[in-house]
């Protein structure tokens, strides 16, 4: 019995912290479940008469608003924006980590991209996209999201490959493996936890990106973030807070589900048992 209550203060602190940190989410969820009348009458967290009406409005496809199209656009662009950096950065990270290529110029330059305000890309990119016909396409949006995610992916993957004992590469070379086999069969599987981390972070960043979505798309490739803003005043007149909250909830679900599904892969170490520690 003693043990049962020993952890109680700890759990109380956890609960308070979780509540405070998730307050915006809880508040949005509560708003999404209220009627417009209740929202204006009682802005508190408690929902007196829960309703799914706001969700019904959001999921309704109209001429002007199509949430499924926005979700589809976001999904495709985010997958391009999260998988492409991995495909590009993994071999590059290997070259940087193992051979020391590009450590003087390329690596710092790429990582510094992260420090730049993204708006700096806006004007040249718009003009370039116009020329090559990438404006308002999922591929175009995905490509720039990949650039946004590149620095972090490279940084994390270089560290991951540095953690793979070099003797494994040498053992594979003795076993007759060429560089491609070493990369695919030995280094890649060992780096899976980091690759999962890179994928999740990149996907979430890409999914939540607003600036390029707003700038580079107009109708065909509008992503969820931009599409959500269309709902805010969808009814005409004042803000439709219930609908806005519902659309935010729907928009947040995919990255949250992805995060939950892949969470266990993030922090797992793969190198246990490879070499004597």
């Amino acid at each position: 019995m003693k043990n049962k209550y020993k952890d109680l203060p700890r759990w109380i602190v956890f609960a308070i912290a979780a509540f405070v940190m998730n307050f915006p989410v809880i508040s949005t969820l509560s708003t999404a479940l209220k009627t417009n009348a209740e929202i204006s009458r009682d802005p508190g967290l408690w929902v007196h008469a829960p309703t799914l009406n706001n969700f019904a409005v959001v999921l309704q496809v109209t001429e002007r608003l199509n949430i499924f199209s926005y979700l589809h656009n976001s999904l495709v662009a985010s997958l391009i924006g999260s998988i492409l950096p991995i495909l590009v950065c993994f071999p590059m990270a290997y070259a940087v980590a193992r051979r020391g290529y590009g450590t003087d110029v390329i690596f710092p330059t790429v990582v510094n991209l992260r420090a730049m305000p993204l708006i700096i890309f806006a004007i040249p990119l718009y003009m370039m996209y116009q020329t090559v016909g990438l404006l308002d396409t999922r591929l175009g949006l995905g490509l720039i999201l990949a650039v946004v995610n590149l620095p972090l992916a490279l940084l994390l993957l270089i560290n991951a490959i540095n953690d793979v004992p070099y003797e494994l590469d040498e053992a594979a070379r003795m076993d007759g493996a060429r560089i491609f086999t070493i990369l695919v069969k030995v280094v890649f599987p060992i780096c899976l936890p980091t690759l999962a981390t890179v994928f999740i972070f990149s996907f979430i960043t890409a999914w939540n990106e607003f600036l390029f979505g707003l700038m580079l798309t107009t109708s065909e490739a509008v992503p969820m973030t931009v599409g959500a803003s269309f709902f805010f005043s969808s009814g005409g007149g004042g803000g439709q807070w219930g609908v806005a909250a519902a659309v935010i909830i729907v928009a947040s679900l995919p990255p949250v589900v992805l995060g939950v599904l892949m969470y266990k892969h993030i922090s797992r170490s793969m190198t246990a048992g490879a070499v004597k520690g």
């Binding site: 004992p165 053992a171 003795m174 493996a177 490879a274």
Partner: protein, 350 residues
């Protein structure tokens, strides 16, 4: 199949010469051990043979064919790494099968060979386990399994036992010796442990500072070391080297009028070497040298006794473990004259 020959091989990292012109031959089926202190270049030499490092000069031949410029996988050698270097994401089966899969061997053939190797190394019950679920000794055996499954021309071992505890090391040493007998393959083995070298080797190569000090059988190295470095490196406890002295009248003359009769010599020895077991303790009346005990280590069967000899200095004596010796106790010493080693002033055997 399996002759490995090095001809004047050199290796430099930048301006630092690590291997300074090494020539040696590992005959077919021979167990050759590279031994030397840390940093002597023995692991680098092994990596040069493996092809994991490029030579700066000289050439390496396997079965008469020049392989100096060949990739590691084209040399037909297998290597067991000090840290095992097992693929952590593969099972024991996957680890052993990897080289065969890479070589495009048929599945059934791979299965047969992997199971045969596992049987030899008593790994059959562990084939489905990952390396992290194995003990140190089992991981070591997987590393060996990975090496033998390819049926290479020769095996390279880079300090394979250094991560094992003392008991397991002795056991694995015996297993490696048995494996060598069973396979009859050429093996090149790097260690800093001279007991491993003595027990396993057909031929020992003693290295120091990137140069070969001596190549020979364990007995040759023990009984006829070519120089003072080999004399002191091989044997435990190490050989006593008496201080430099002048030779004349059939005797070595030390300070304070102390002399040791050694009879007529052709050369002019400057340094006398004597192994601890070739010095006996005796009553002072019968002694050739008188000494006093400064420190005694009880090893069970033996006492490892340190004595101080006036005019000569400290000597190490292996005495019967049953003797009860006290610090400061005066003792007499007799040297076995037939077992003395003589070196000139440059430390080279005369």
């Amino acid at each position: 199949m399996g002759t490995i020959e090095l001809k004047n091989v050199t290796k430099s990292f930048g301006p630092v010469a690590v291997i300074k012109g090494v020539s040696l031959t590992a005959e077919e089926g021979e167990f050759v051990v590279f031994v030397g202190p840390s940093g002597c270049g023995k692991s680098t030499l092994l990596r040069l043979i493996a092809g994991l490092e490029e030579t700066s000069g000289g050439s390496i031949h396997i079965d008469g064919k020049d392989v100096t410029e060949l990739d590691p996988n084209h040399r037909g050698l297998s290597m067991v790494f000090q840290s095992y270097a097992l693929y952590p994401h593969m099972t024991v089966y996957g680890n052993i099968a990897f080289a065969l899969k890479t070589a495009g061997v048929a599945k059934l053939e791979i299965d047969r060979k992997v199971r045969a190797a596992a049987e030899t190394l008593k790994l059959t019950p562990y084939l489905d386990r990952k390396p992290k679920d194995l003990s140190g000794g089992q991981r070591q055996r997987v590393a060996i399994g990975r090496a033998i499954v390819r049926q290479p021309k020769g095996f390279l071992f880079d300090e394979p036992l250094s991560n094992l505890d003392a008991a397991l090391r002795t056991q694995t040493r015996i297993e490696i010796a048995n494996l060598h007998k069973e396979l009859g393959a050429t093996m090149v083995y790097v260690t800093h442990d001279q007991i491993e070298a003595m027990t396993l080797a057909d031929k020992i190569v003693v290295l120091n500072d990137g140069e070969v000090m001596q190549i020979g059988s364990p007995k040759e190295l023990y009984y006829a070391p070519k120089n003072t470095f080999v004399a002191q490196f091989i044997g435990s406890p190490k050989m006593n080297l008496l201080p430099r002295a002048s030779y004349g009248g059939g005797a070595m003359h030390y300070q304070d009028g102390v002399k040791i009769d050694i009879g007529h010599m052709d050369g002019t020895p400057s340094i006398v070497g004597v192994r601890p077991e070739d010095i006996s303790l005796c009553p002072l009346g019968e002694a050739e040298l008188s000494a006093s005990v400064t420190h005694n280590e009880f090893h069970g069967a033996d006492n490892n006794v340190f004595v101080s000899v006036p005019g000569i200095g400290s000597l190490n004596v292996r005495a019967n473990g049953k003797l009860d010796l006290q610090n400061g106790q005066p003792v007499g010493l007799v040297l076995d004259k037939s077992q003395l080693h003589y070196f000139d002033e440059n430390g080279v055997r005369t």
